[in-house]
Each structure stands twice: as C-alpha cells, then as structure tokens.
C-alpha cells in the first residue's frame, strides 16, 4: 500500500513566545522545535499500517531547512522516505494554500491512505487535512481515535462531542486526521535513528508546487490583554451581601 503522512514542525509548547517584529506571527528565534503532537499519532498509525500490509510510507513536511530534523524523527519511527517542501515563508500561508501545495505533490502519486494530525499546535486551524482530501477527491474522516484495516475497508472511530464516538467504515483511498488517544507513538530506537540517516529525503522548492495565490492573511498576532484583577470584599457577612448586591446592580445587568 502507498501511504502518505503529512507532518508539521511546531515550537515546543513550553517555550516562551514572543511576537515577531512584523506583528503577524511568533518570533522563531530561541525556540525549540518538535513534531506537532497530533502528527506523532499520524506517523505512528501510518507506520503500524505499513507494518501490517507492507508497501511504502512517505512522510511530507513543508517549511525551512530545520523541518528536516523533525522529518528524520519520522523516518526513525519507520517512514520509508521523506519529501521536504522547502519554504521559508510557510508561516504566512493559509490552510488552503498549504493543502494546495500538498495536493499538487500527491495528485499523481496514487496514495491509498493519507494521514494528518487533526490540527497543528501553533496555528490550530484544523483545515489542512480536510482541504487536502477535498482537492484530491478523497473521503476524509476526522479526529479518529481508533483505526483498523481489514484488507478491504478502513474501520475507524471518530471522537464526537460529549464523549460520544462514531464508528465509520470507508473504502480507500481515504484521508484520516488523527486525534489524541489514537495510539501511543513509539520512541525512535537507536538502530532506527542510525538507519534513518540512509533513507531518502528529497527537497522540492515550494515554487514548483504552489499554484494558487494566498487568499487569507494574518493581520496581527497579539497576546490577550491582561484583565484587571478581581475585587475582594471583606467584612461581616450581612454587609458583604448588601455590598455585593449593590455592585451587581450598579455594574452589571445581572440584577435589575
């Protein structure tokens, strides 16, 4: 089976974020980067499927040169080859453009199964996977927490609101976006880290794959304004109640 897994490199979420000088994204300097958490579930599931059925598993990522380090982790986890789309301005691109770039690469490749994370930890749009499926004319099943392939159909469970799960079966080729709880990603073992060095990792310029103009721009990125501190009332209970009622009447619409 030909399988594709799309991953994104994101900053470690424990980092201290600063707004970039142009005010449109975060400042990349002094950040430690890693694989987007949801993409780790995607890679693990893709590797398991490949181990089950054989075939070839390609990992794709878009971004500057440093994303290759994250791709190496995916290769060390079990992907067979990597396709790096070299793009130093990926952060300025909207989900439609990003999905378009991947679709342009994937359209002639006959992938039977595509995995993505359900969203990225930094942008969090949750759109690239479904847009990619649409562009390729594939069914998309989102936020999966269970996955099986019986040789004919993919059987997955989706997470819905309120703890409810939906069981979905789908004929391939299909795209799946992966949610927390799907699996426990493996550690890349040392021998596999060493073997990853010898795996194919090609780099394509983004200009070769980007066929559309960017429709959506981020105008401004900012930290939420700090709310003023709360008001603490002290004193006797009886007078506290009166004062509280007074404040609620005066400053809110809770009491008329």
């Amino acid at each position: 089976m030909k399988i594709l897994v799309c991953i994104k490199q994101v900053p470690d979420m424990e980092s201290k974020f600063k707004i970039a000088a142009d005010g449109r994204w975060y400042d990349n300097s002094d950040l430690v980067f890693r694989m987007n958490e949801y993409d780790e579930y995607a890679v693990e599931q893709a590797v398991r499927l490949k181990e089950q059925v054989g075939g070839e598993l390609t990992v794709l990522s878009i971004g500057p040169d440093r994303v290759k380090e994250t791709m190496k982790k995916a290769l060390a986890m079990g992907c067979d080859r990597g396709v790096h789309v070299a793009d130093d301005t990926i952060a300025a691109k909207d989900p439609m453009t990003i999905a378009g770039i991947i679709a342009e690469y994937a359209k002639d490749q006959n992938f039977s199964c595509i995995f993505t994370g359900m969203q990225s930890q930094d942008r969090g749009s949750g759109q690239v996977g479904v847009l990619l499926a649409e562009m390729l004319g594939l069914p998309a099943v989102t936020t999966i927490v269970d996955f099986a392939w019986d040789g004919d159909l993919f059987s997955v469970k989706r997470e819905l609101e309120g703890g409810i799960k939906a069981k979905v079966t789908v004929q391939g080729p299909a795209l799946f976006t992966c949610q927390l709880g799907l699996n426990t990603p493996r550690y890349p073992t040392l021998p596999n880290i060493m073997k990853a060095k010898k795996k194919e990792l090609i780099s394509l310029p983004v200009e070769q794959l980007q066929k559309t103009v960017i429709l959506q721009e981020t105008e401004r990125l900012y930290f939420p304004e700090k709310k003023s501190g709360g008001l603490i009332l002290e004193g006797e209970v009886a007078s506290l109640a009166d004062r509280l009622i007074g404040i609620l009447k005066e400053k809110t619409a809770v009491l008329a």
């Binding site: 380090e69 550690y187 040392l190």
Partner: protein, 381 residues
C-alpha cells in the same frame, strides 16, 4: 572546530530525554528509598531502545553510533536517575567494551552480541579489599588446570553484580611476575559453579543500582574464556577504565544538569520578601556559576567522547572530563540543596538524592586523586 551535534545525536538526546522523563523519572525517588533495582525498566527497556550496544557495530548487535551519542544517553538518563545512568555505563563501558576491544571473534559472537542487544547485562570485577586505586595489588588468582582456569578470590563494590549475567574479572595468573604483568582478564558467566555473590552494599547514593561482592571458590571456567592474552590484564583494565571515565563523567554531568534545573525552577517559584529568590543576586549568581561550570564540564566530556570515536588518544581527555564533571556535580548539587534550603534537605525534592548520588562520581572508576595522577604524570613525564 565544530560545536554542533549532528541530527542523529540530537534525535538520540530527544529520544532518551523523553524516555527518561516519562518512564525513569517517576520511580527514581522510590527506588532510591527502597534500594531497589528495577531490571525491566533500568536495563531491559534500554535494550529495547537500542541503548545497551550504542557504540558497537551492527554485526555484534550494536547500533553503530559514536561515543558522543553514548555520552549523551548516559547524561540524559542520569539527569533524572543516576542509578540508571551507571547501570548503562558499567554494562557498556566496563563489560561489553573490553570484550569488543580485546575479545576473539568467537568471544564477540558469544558474549558481546547478547550484551549489546540487551539480552544479557554486564559487570566488571577489578576492585578487591586490598586493591582499589592500586589495581596491581590484585590478589584473586587464576590457575590453569587441564582445560580450565580455576579462579579463587573476592571482588568488592561491583556495580550491576547479582543481576548481571556476564562478568569481566581480573585475576593474577603469574605470582612471580612484577605486579602489573602477572594479571589476566577473564569472562565469567553468572551461574558458573564456584562463583557466588557476597553481601549487598548499603550505600549513600546510587541506591537503586546494585553493588555486591563477587566470590570465587575453585570456580572453573574454560580456557577459551581468557580475555586477551595471558598477562595482558592490567593493560585491559586501564584501557577499559579510560572508556569508563567517559561514562562516569557523563553520569556526573547529567546529575549536575538535573540539579541545576531543579534549583532554577525552585528559585523562580519560591518567594521570600515578596520576591522570587531567583531575582536576588545572591541566588542568581550562584545559578550562573553552576550553569557555567556545567557547560565547561560538558565541553570536556564531549571532547573526550569525540576523541574516543575519532580513534585519537583519549586517556588524558577522559581523566580531565571525569575530574571536572564529578567535582562539578558535587559542587552544583550541594549548591542546589542550599538554594532549596530546608526543602532541599528533605526527600520531597530530588536534590538531596542528587547530592548523595554525585559523591560516588568522585570515587569510582578512579578517584579524583587518581585522575590528577593520570593527568599530572603525563605532564611531568
């Protein structure tokens, strides 16, 4: 000169750190408290991750990585649990490595490969009651008798003893020869008749790593289990310890790093006089010194590891690395306890364990005094 880790080395650090934080750290305090070695976690899991044979070629079950990768792995394990760090270091540097360096092809297939794959755990028996820093004073004997060597004597303070399956043991084979020349090295399997274990040591630190006596009473092993040549034992021991020092230096480095991080986190949270204590220069400057000393030690350790992988002479470099890293670990952990104050002195926080763990790094695999001897005698030769 390039001060940058390769992609593989970064991946190895990330992997070992994630494993150490998720799986090793949670039980570090309780294992220390109970003086309990957890083989499944502290050794078998390392084997599954490919850490037990990091530096050996794939044909012998290894991962074919370099010494710097090994140093990083021991550092990251020791950052959360020094006992797990030394388990790997003693296994790899002291048991598997001499077999790799001095073993015959048959010995490598028979003994090294299962060690490297993590199927068997290794230990190293050199120290005796009257032969510590003076390894030439070895009194354990090995006498040839027909198809066997017959071993008699006692080894003490042996890391991994009891749980390990494979032991590299040193014994005197020639009583007439000058003290350094009459010693030979042997590979002994656990379970060999005449080979038993004495008392388990109750230690100040690295309490989750087992330390025991090895007792040999007319223990017969095949002639084929002589490691290297007869009389070559002292040289094998010294060469082995050169490598071992990289492991212990890395362990000390990891302990120091763990203590620094604990101290920084605490100092940022802990408020006195309405101010986080990290903002007081008295504390801030201490943290700055700790970080600077650790970085200096790290460069020495990585340099020694680099030289070992590049095939350069590294005896001096590893002695300097071990001396610097172990003394840094002792200093930094003591300061970390001071910064945490009363809390630091309790077992609620990890720094008192780290301080107890740090002390041994100034003692085993060559005391700080022996490291100075190694460095100083080369200078004044």
């Amino acid at each position: 000169m390039k001060f940058e880790l390769t992609e593989e080395q970064n991946l190895i650090r990330d992997m070992v750190r994630e494993f150490a934080e998720k799986e090793v750290a949670p039980s570090a305090a309780i294992r220390d408290e109970e003086e309990r070695f957890d083989r499944a976690l502290m050794f078998d899991r390392l084997g599954e991750l490919g850490l037990t044979g990091i530096v050996f070629p794939e044909e012998y079950g290894g991962a074919g990585a370099d010494y710097l990768s090994y140093a990083i792995a021991v550092e990251e394990l020791s950052r959360v649990c020094a006992s797990t760090g030394v388990t790997l270091s003693a296994h790899l540097s002291l048991c598997a490595n001499p077999i790799y360096l001095f073993g015959s092809e048959e010995q490598k297939q028979q003994f090294l490969a299962p060690l490297a794959r993590g199927e068997k755990m290794g230990a190293f028996g050199l120290t005796e009651p009257s032969a510590g820093s003076d390894a030439g004073g070895t009194k354990t004997t090995a006498v040839k008798d027909g198809d066997n060597w017959v071993l008699n004597g006692t080894k003490i303070f042996i890391t991994n003893a009891g749980d390990a399956e494979t032991y590299v043991v040193f014994a005197r084979t020639d009583k007439e020869a000058q003290k350094h020349h009459g010693i030979s090295a042997f590979i002994v399997d656990k379970g060999t008749p005449g080979f038993s274990f004495g008392k388990k040591e109750k230690k100040m630190g690295i309490r989750s790593s087992p330390t025991m006596e090895l007792v040999f009473e007319n223990c017969r092993i095949p002639l084929s289990q002589l490691l290297g040549e007869e009389g070559q034992g002292f040289k094998i021991a010294m060469k082995t310890l050169d490598g071992g020092r990289i492991g212990i230096a890395s362990q000390a480095l990891g302990i120091a790093q763990g203590a620094l991080e604990a101290a920084v986190n605490y100092a940022k949270e802990r408020k006195q006089f309405d101010t986080p204590i990290a903002k007081f220069q008295g504390v801030m400057f201490q943290l700055a010194d700790m970080a600077t000393q650790i970085e200096a030690a790290r460069l020495l350790v990585y340099n020694a590891a680099y030289k070992a992988s590049a095939g350069l002479s590294y005896s001096q470099a590893s002695a300097m690395a071990k001396l610097m890293a172990s003394e840094t670990a002792m200093r930094v952990t003591t300061q970390a306890v001071q910064i945490l104050g009363g809390y630091g002195y309790t077992r609620e926080f990890p720094v008192e364990r780290m301080m107890r763990d740090a002390k041994i790094t100034e003692i085993y695999e060559g005391t700080s005094e022996v490291q100075r001897l190694v460095i100083g005698s080369a200078l004044t030769r």
